[in-house]
């Protein structure tokens, strides 16, 4: 009963999304107010239906309903309740339902958030979101229905992949998808502007909170994924330039460019076509990511099980959705030029290069992603592309960007130049260089040329970000939330860069074979293999070792790495032991029984790796802080006194 209810709810949701799309776009286009007004009920109805469907699938999981094929394939009565719930999005069909559910949530939020905006514009935004819902609901119902029944029902299920039996599964997909789907709202705002044929600074002010929030969630989602990979995959890696990881990183890069481009459009009415294009591209890359991950086109540990029909459907959807958006862009964007000017050294100029460098990075990653397919298509033999390609080519765009960042945040709008700030920045650069070289050569040893350079850049970014708030406090001027948010976010970037440099340059890692009582040295620590004992869990068995870690003779910690065999799936997983000691992460992973009482271990000491994720979270926090600024809560531009020395509105475009 419940699965049928869920399926029925999805069908109703599809119908409602058709109405939502139709009324949202045709209403304003034809000037029919009743149609335009009908969008809101459609949105609300779709949300109710989608929530119902989600609830039904969850109920099927919680209730161990193994007559539903998706539940039978991904759950098991021995599975703890927590994972029966999180397992709802553990595989393709359920994760699509999660997508659709989050889209309905964002659409509802957009309906509420645009309530005080011009009716036609708001309706168009919701209409565009409706078209996206149509695509995903059709895709789910036709190719990936999670409510398909099994006849006869299974006695018990296959259980959840042991790798996914981790709190990471509860957190990573929902947060990540919230980001992916959130970019749809910015896409919809761009679509509405294109449909209307009009774009002004007000539009940028309306769009910015949505784009930034989506970007912040995407940042957190990617960070969670990276951290999850680090502690769960067993060899201490956190980013592999894997096709699926790249598929999430490309929208993030576009999102970053978008939020910066929006700043220019809001401030000066410039970069309109850039901002429109970035808004369209950001979500387009989300869609393309969905395609790459689910169509079976690329090989990846993370990809969902694919079938050809799924791939063709998504590709068709992509062509329609993105093709229409880009065609609309080609038609309408030329009419939205503005005539304002700016100098070479102006902030606009820096942000233009920011856009270009981020797009270059994105294009490079895309080329690497597609290289195996392209090389086969052109009969060039099959290429494979991995970290040795992505790392250096990513740096080609990123190093200039990091170097320009400290200058860009101080450059004056329009007229350019740094004014008095130039001197302060130079001092900051000198200080940063001292810090950078001291850390690279002093604290860690054996650095190349890249490490001190990027450490310096990271330190300079942090110092440069602090100059403005400190200056304001000194002069007792208010620090608006937007400025504070920007500062925090850029500090996060600096922290991230410093941490990444430390990890890339100074990780100590080795595989060793030890018998009981033997020890090995790595990264300044000594690891002694004390004992190994068998392990029994609720749905697994295995072995657990005990490792004593000391440094210079003084005890540091005791670590218990495990190896587990999950009975139902016959899968072996490695649960490495991780300890945080003085800014470094120590990781010990248990390998195999080599016979004669010898066991293999991986020992890894990674300095500052935690700050990679902390830096990223600080970036996200900065973004969220920035959009709580008063000016985003004003529905219309006001001529009244601004909260800080920032324009509350002002001349239109």
């Amino acid at each position: 009963m419940i699965p049928e209810l869920g399926q029925f709810a999805l069908i109703l949701a599809l119908l409602l999304s058709v109405l939502q799309a139709f009324f949202g776009i045709a209403g304003p286009a034809l000037g029919r107010e009743r149609w335009t007004a009908a969008v809101i009920p459609a949105v609300a109805g779709q949300f109710v239906m989608v929530s119902t469907a989600m609830g039904c699938l969850m109920a099927a999981f919680i209730g161990n309903d193994f007559s539903v094929r998706y539940v039978a394939e991904n759950s098991n009565s021995a599975l703890p309740l927590f994972y029966r719930i999180a397992g709802v999005w553990g595989a393709h069909s359920g994760s699509l339902l999660l997508w659709i559910f989050l889209l309905a949530c964002w659409t509802l939020a957009a309906a509420v958030g645009t309530a005080r905006l011009p009716r036609n514009f708001a309706a168009r935004v919701l209409g565009v979101l409706g078209t996206i819902s149509i695509g995903f609901l059709l895709y789910t119902l036709i190719t990936s229905n999670p409510f398909v029944r099994l006849d006869p029902p299974w006695a018990d299920g296959m259980g959840l992949n042991p790798i996914l039996q981790d709190p990471g599964l509860a957190a990573h997909p929902p947060v990540l998808y919230t980001g992916y789907v959130g970019l749809a709202v910015a896409f919809a705002f761009a679509g509405a502007a294109l449909l209307e044929g009009r774009l002004d600074r007000e539009w940028a002010r309306w769009t910015r909170p949505w784009a930034t929030t989506a970007w912040a969630f995407l940042t957190c989602g990617i960070t969670l994924g990276s951290w999850w990979a680090y502690y769960t995959l067993g060899w201490g890696g956190f980013w592999f330039w894997d096709p699926v990881e790249n598929a999430s990183f490309m929208p993030w890069l576009m999102g970053t460019a978008l939020i910066h481009s929006l700043a220019v459009t809001e401030k000066r009415g410039l970069f309109k076509s850039w901002t429109l294009l970035l808004a369209v591209l950001g979500f387009s890359l989300s869609l393309i990511g969905t395609f790459l991950v689910r169509s079976g086109v690329l090989i990846s540990v993370h990809s969902f099980v694919a079938s050809p029909g799924r791939g063709e459907f998504i590709l068709t959807f992509l062509v329609i959705m993105i093709g229409a958006a880009l065609a609309l862009y080609a038609w309408r964007a030329p009419q939205m030029q503005s005539e304002a000017g700016f100098e070479l050294s102006a902030r606009e100029s820096f942000l233009l290069f920011n856009n270009i460098l981020l797009v270059t990075a994105c294009g490079t990653i895309f080329a690497g992603e597609m290289a195996p397919i392209i090389s086969i298509a052109l009969h060039l033999g099959k290429l494979s592309v991995g970290p040795p390609y992505f790392n250096p080519t990513f740096l080609v765009s990123m190093l200039p960007l990091l170097a320009l960042l400290p200058l860009g945040i101080h450059a004056r709008w329009k007229r350019g130049g740094l004014g008095e700030r130039g001197r302060t920045l130079s001092i900051a650069l000198a200080a940063a260089a001292l810090i950078g070289c001291a850390v690279a050569f002093g604290v860690f040893t054996g650095a190349g040329i890249l490490s001190p350079v990027s450490m310096t850049l990271g330190a300079w970014i942090i110092l440069a970000s602090l100059i403005d708030p400190i200056d304001r406090l000194r002069r007792r001027i208010a620090v608006p939330r937007a400025v504070l948010g920007m500062t925090v976010a850029h500090i996060g970037v600096g922290v991230f860069v410093i941490a990444m440099t430390a990890v890339q340059g100074f990780t100590a890692e080795q595989d060793v074979a030890l018998t009981r009582g033997m020890s090995a040295r790595d990264g300044g620590y000594t690891f002694q293999f004390e004992r190994i004992k068998p392990l029994h869990g609720p749905n697994y068995g295995g072995a657990e070792a005990k490792i004593l870690v000391t440094r210079n003779g003084k005890p540091v910690t005791v670590m218990y790495p495990q190896k587990r065999t999950y009975w139902v799936q016959h899968m072996v997983t490695t649960h490495s032991a991780i300890d945080i000691n003085g800014g470094s992460n120590i990781l010990v992973a248990l390998g195999q029984d080599l016979g004669d009482g010898r066991w293999s271990f991986r020992l890894q000491v990674r300095p500052l790796v935690l700050y990679i994720w902390i830096g990223a979270l600080i970036m996200a926090a900065g973004g969220l802080l920035a959009i709580t600024d008063r000016r985003y809560r004003l529905a219309e531009s006001r001529e009244s006194a601004p909260a800080g020395p920032l324009p509350a509105g002002g001349a239109g475009s």
């Binding site: 090989i299 791939g311 992509l318 880009l326």
Partner: protein
């Protein structure tokens, strides 16, 4: 003006790439071999049946032969076993087996149960010889010409369709040329 169409044009190219990617998706883990047209690595390995004897492809120089990489652990190899027997029966070309990463006793039992299509079988339990042939999965089958050049590599179990479509034309063409 035209530059605003650039994103759409680039997207069109990307769609073509994606469509091609979908087309080759079922075969995406197949890697074309760079050994096509190159001399086959010469090997001298113990024979599976009799460890004191050796199998060497230097002795096969001057003849066409198929080298079939297989193992008892390989499920797909069981799928192609009947086809291999049929091929051996036709006598068109001898099939030399390379027993890869296997146990001698299990392999002998397997052949006793299912029939032996191989004229000779080289035993490579360590897998190092297979690496010389660029083997990365089983079953894989190579066509080697009388000059000792690898002419073709087929990945996967040989089906009757694959035999007629991929193997015979290459063997026939060569046979008309060499007149044998």
């Amino acid at each position: 003006m035209m530059r605003y169409f650039a994103p759409l044009a680039i997207f069109a190219v990307i769609v073509v790439i994606f469509a091609f990617g979908l087309h080759q998706a079922p075969r995406k883990d197949l890697v074309p071999s760079p050994l096509i047209g190159k001399p086959a690595p010469s090997f001298t390995l113990p024979s599976l049946a009799d460890p004191t004897q050796t199998v060497s492809n230097a002795a096969l120089h001057g003849h066409w032969y198929l080298l079939n990489v297989w193992g008892t652990w390989c499920i797909s190899c069981r799928l192609e076993a009947p086809e291999l027997l049929a091929i051996a029966h036709t006598g068109v070309v001898p099939v030399i087996g390379l027993d890869w990463k296997d146990s001698r006793s299990a392999a002998m039992r397997y052949l006793a149960q299912r029939g032996n299509p191989y004229q000779q079988i080289a035993f490579d339990p360590g897998g190092l010889e297979a690496i010389h042939w660029g083997v990365y999965g089983a079953p894989e089958t190579f066509i080697v010409n009388p000059q000792g050049i690898i002419v073709y590599k087929y990945i996967g179990p040989i089906t009757p369709g694959a035999w007629t479509r991929d193997f015979l034309p290459r063997l026939r063409a060569a046979q008309t040329v060499s007149g044998s």
